[in-house]
């Protein structure tokens, strides 16, 4: 049975490394907050950019519809996760707080998706601008929370 002992030792070392890495892999609530806010920022920017490019005829409508729908799915997931965090549930849920702003982003994105699906392209730019304003407001709130994205 030569080689069995070294194999066991190797397996034990590997298991130890994986346990240690699993420990490193646990995200703290602060890290979750940061990564979900980052996802919101990224997906909002995508929706805005796609809408503006569709308005200037730089991307096809089918592409824009798919891209905004995918981003909306990601946004919904992130906003749901954020709404369960204490930092967002408490003061963040007050008027002018983070949660109402996130919900406004959700509404604007839904509005944009609707416009794209109906092919009513004249409404794209005003909606994209509204979304950009919400994005800026969220940025300021996040900065105020001391989070760097």
């Amino acid at each position: 049975m030569r080689g069995v002992k070294p194999m066991r030792r190797y397996a034990a070392s590997l298991a130890l490394v994986l346990v240690l890495l699993a420990g490193c892999g646990q995200q703290s609530p602060q890290e979750t907050l940061r990564s979900e806010l980052q996802a919101v920022k990224s997906n909002t920017a995508i929706v805005e950019m796609v809408a503006r490019n569709l308005a200037r005829g730089a991307v096809p409508q089918a592409y824009a519809g798919n891209a905004i729908e995918a981003a909306k799915g990601n946004l919904d997931g992130s906003i749901q996760a954020l709404s369960e965090l204490p930092e967002v549930k408490g003061n963040g849920a007050q008027p002018g707080g983070l949660l109402p702003r996130l919900q406004a982003v959700q509404r604007d994105t839904e509005g944009l998706l609707d416009v794209v699906k109906k092919g009513d392209l004249s409404n794209l730019t005003p909606l994209a601008e509204q979304l950009a304003k919400e994005e800026q407001a969220i940025d300021e709130i996040v900065k105020g929370m001391g989070i760097e994205l």
């Binding site: 994986l18 890495l21 699993a22 490193c24 892999g25 646990q26 995200q27 890290e31 940061r34 990564s35 980052q38 996802a39 920022k41 990224s42 920017a45 995508i46 950019m49 796609v50 490019n53 200037r56 005829g57 730089a58 991307v59 096809p60 089918a62 592409y63 519809g65 798919n66 891209a67 995918a70 990601n74 760097e148 994205l149």
Partner: protein
């Protein structure tokens, strides 16, 4: 004159064929998530691939052996079989990702989901391998791949802050998302230093009957072709860094990466992104499909040649036929092409020592390469870069999977 033309063609095909799904995905993600900060990983990967491509051509030209053949002869069948199994699994995933890249390009243009394109793409791929010759595959598709130079044009139009770009050439750690940063760094190196490239390149050199007179042209193709090819990769990274990074866009799918070219070039940029992605992935898929057939045939001593009729090499043709359709099933199943690509590229970095260490032994063995043995510089550079990529991969992959930072 004929050799000069062959060098020129080799260089052009290296530039056109340099990009593949892995290079596009990793460079776009790196630029979008970390700006210019990961340029160093791209430069290290390029340096390593230049040395290794040159070595695989030199091995074939001097010894008349393909890499697979030489490893089997030097280390025995049992060792080669282990290397073969690992390589065939990674090739299977890479092929799935390349087919996925073509499908996404078609999705961008038509709006029809990528899953529906997987089997038609696999069929066209198979048909071209079945009917085509090695020259058609290597030169034709790679020359079409010169369309990827659009990324370089985009960089020129975007007028980057060059000192900031240059600062990315120095390795540094990210202040945030360290695990993801390391994962992308490993994926970039894995995407550039793909082992299939060396098996494929040496098989091509043997198929084209290279001899010692090709040592010079081989060096020129490796250095100039791969060097300029990496400029295209750099173009993808810089474009993403200028357009997507400031907006905080983190590329989570290929259709998001297309936005990087739309900003400077408008609708033309959108079309050229889709065309670049489609052509480069199609070319790479043909190479990976063939590579699987090459290494299998060379493992078991079957006849192999892409330029022969399939009836004369039934087993060789059967391998790429089966592997292409099996890999296409990954896309039919709806696996996300970008996630598959990134995971596969990082996985590639973990298997590099298994492929590269025996390769280096061969390149230092007089029995195979005579006086054309490796020098201390090429040995040191390759060992250091492969070692670094392996260590980073072992740390970064579990952290990325577990969502650590």
């Amino acid at each position: 004159m004929k050799k000069a033309l062959s060098i020129a063609l080799g260089i052009l095909t290296s530039i056109g064929g340099f990009l593949d799904v892995g290079a596009i995905a990793t460079a776009a993600q790196a630029g979008a998530a970390f700006g210019f900060q990961l340029i160093w990983a791209l430069l290290l990967g390029t340096l390593c691939v230049i040395f290794l491509v040159e070595m695989s051509g030199r091995l074939a030209a001097v010894s008349g052996h393909t890499l697979a053949d030489a490893v089997r002869e030097r280390f025995g069948f049992r060792f080669y079989f282990l290397q073969y199994v690992i390589e065939i699994i990674v090739d299977f995933l890479v092929l799935g990702a390349e087919i996925g890249g073509v499908c996404i390009a078609l999705q961008l243009v038509t709006g029809i989901s990528f899953q529906w394109w997987a089997l038609p793409v696999a069929f066209v791929l198979w048909l071209l391998l079945w009917k085509g010759t090695f020259g058609l595959i290597e030169n034709g598709v790679a020359l079409l791949g010169l369309v990827t130079l659009v990324f370089v044009v985009a960089v020129v139009m975007l007028k980057p802050d060059w000192p900031a770009v240059m600062s990315g050439a120095l390795p540094s750690l990210s202040r945030h998302d360290t695990a993801h940063y390391l994962f992308i760094a490993v994926s970039i190196i894995g995407a550039l230093v793909s082992p299939y490239l060396f098996f494929f390149y040496s098989s091509g050199a043997v198929e084209e009957k290279w001899d010692k007179s090709y040592i010079g042209p081989n060096r020129a193709i490796a250095v100039i072709g791969m060097g300029f090819g990496s400029v295209v990769s750099l173009g993808v990274l810089i474009t993403s860094a200028i357009v997507l990074f400031p907006k905080g866009i983190q590329v989570e799918s290929y259709d998001q990466a297309a936005l990087a070219l739309v900003a400077p070039l408008g609708f033309l940029g959108f079309v050229l992104f889709a065309v670049s992605l489609g052509i480069t992935c199609f070319g790479a898929a043909m190479e990976v499909g063939l590579d699987q057939a090459f290494i299998t045939a060379q493992a078991f001593g079957w006849n192999w040649s892409e330029s022969q009729k399939p009836a004369k090499e039934a087993r060789f043709s059967l391998i790429y036929t089966v592997m292409i359709f099996l890999s296409a099933l990954l896309m039919v199943a709806g696996i996300d092409p970008l996630q598959l690509t990134l995971f596969t590229m990082a996985l590639t970095a973990t298997i590099l020592p298994v492929v590269i260490v025996p390769f280096l032994v061969l390149m230092n063995d007089e029995k195979y390469v005579g006086k054309f043995r490796n020098g201390i510089i090429s040995n040191t550079v390759v060992v250091l870069i492969i070692g670094l990529a392996f260590v980073l991969a072992v740390v970064a992959i579990p952290l990325e999977v577990l969502g650590g930072s």
